[in-house]
C-alpha cells in the first residue's frame, strides 16, 4: 500500500518538475527563471525523500540536506547579482 502511494506521489512531484521546467525554458524574464530553478530545487528534495521512503533507506537525507543548502545559496547569490550587478563589492 505504501509503495503504491509513494509511486503516486512521485508522479505528482514529477508533473510539478515538468511544469517548472516549462517555466524555466519559457520564462519571460531572468527572475522567472530563477524562481523556477528554486522551485525545482524544492521539488527535487521531495523526490529524493520519496526515493528514500521507496527503498526504505535513511541514507538519502544527506543528499537532500546538501541540495537544500545549495538551492538557498545559489538563489541568494543570483538575486544579489541581479540587484547589485556584483556579488562581492
Amino acid at each position: 500500500m505504501l509503495t503504491i502511494v509513494v509511486l503516486i506521489s512521485c508522479t505528482f512531484v514529477g508533473i510539478g518538475l515538468l511544469l517548472n521546467l516549462w517555466r524555466l525554458l519559457k520564462g519571460p524574464s531572468v527572475l522567472d527563471r530563477v524562481l523556477a530553478l528554486d522551485t525545482m530545487y524544492i521539488n527535487s528534495i521531495a523526490l529524493i525523500v520519496l526515493l528514500g521512503l521507496y527503498f526504505g533507506s535513511p541514507l538519502y537525507f544527506e543528499g537532500a540536506l546538501l541540495i537544500a543548502m545549495l538551492g538557498f545559496v545559489s538563489t541568494a547569490a543570483l538575486c544579489k547579482y541581479l540587484v547589485r550587478g556584483d556579488l562581492i563589492e
Partner: protein
C-alpha cells in the same frame, strides 16, 4: 508498523505531493511575476513540510530512536523559503517589473523602490 501510523504517513504523503503540484501549476499559470512568486513559496513549502514529516514518522517507527535529519531539513527550508522569496520580490521591484493592472496599492511601489537606507 501499526496501521494507524501507516495511514497517517499515506495521508501526509498524498497531501504533500498534491500541494507541491499545486505550487508548480501556479508557477506555470499565473499572469505576472509577483503573483507567480506566491505559488511556490507558500504551497510548495507546505508540501515539502508534509512530505518530510511523513518521512520522519516512517523512519522513527521503523527504526530505533527518533530520526532527526528530516526535521533539520524541514527547519532549514522553513527558514530559507521566506528569505529567498523576499530577495526575489525585492530584485523584481528594483528591476521595475510591471505588475498586472488590478494589483492593489500599486501606487506604493514607487516610494518603496526609492526608499533610502538609514544613515
Amino acid at each position: 508498523m501499526s496501521l494507524f501510523v501507516e495511514w497517517l504517513v499515506i495521508i501526509l504523503l498524498l497531501l504533500g505531493a498534491f500541494f507541491l503540484m499545486v505550487g508548480s501549476i501556479g508557477l506555470a499559470k499565473l499572469p505576472d511575476f509577483y503573483t507567480r512568486l506566491h505559488a511556490p513559496t507558500k504551497a510548495s513549502t507546505l508540501g515539502i513540510g508534509a512530505v518530510l514529516i511523513a518521512s520522519t514518522l516512517f523512519f522513527s517507527v521503523n527504526q530505533e530512536g527518533i530520526s532527526v535529519k528530516e526535521l533539520v531539513i524541514t527547519l532549514f527550508l522553513f527558514i530559507t523559503a521566506p528569505i529567498t522569496a523576499h530577495m526575489m520580490g525585492k530584485a523584481a521591484m528594483h528591476k521595475e517589473k510591471k505588475a498586472i493592472e488590478r494589483t492593489r496599492n500599486l501606487h506604493l511601489q514607487e516610494p518603496a523602490r526609492n526608499r533610502q537606507p538609514p544613515e
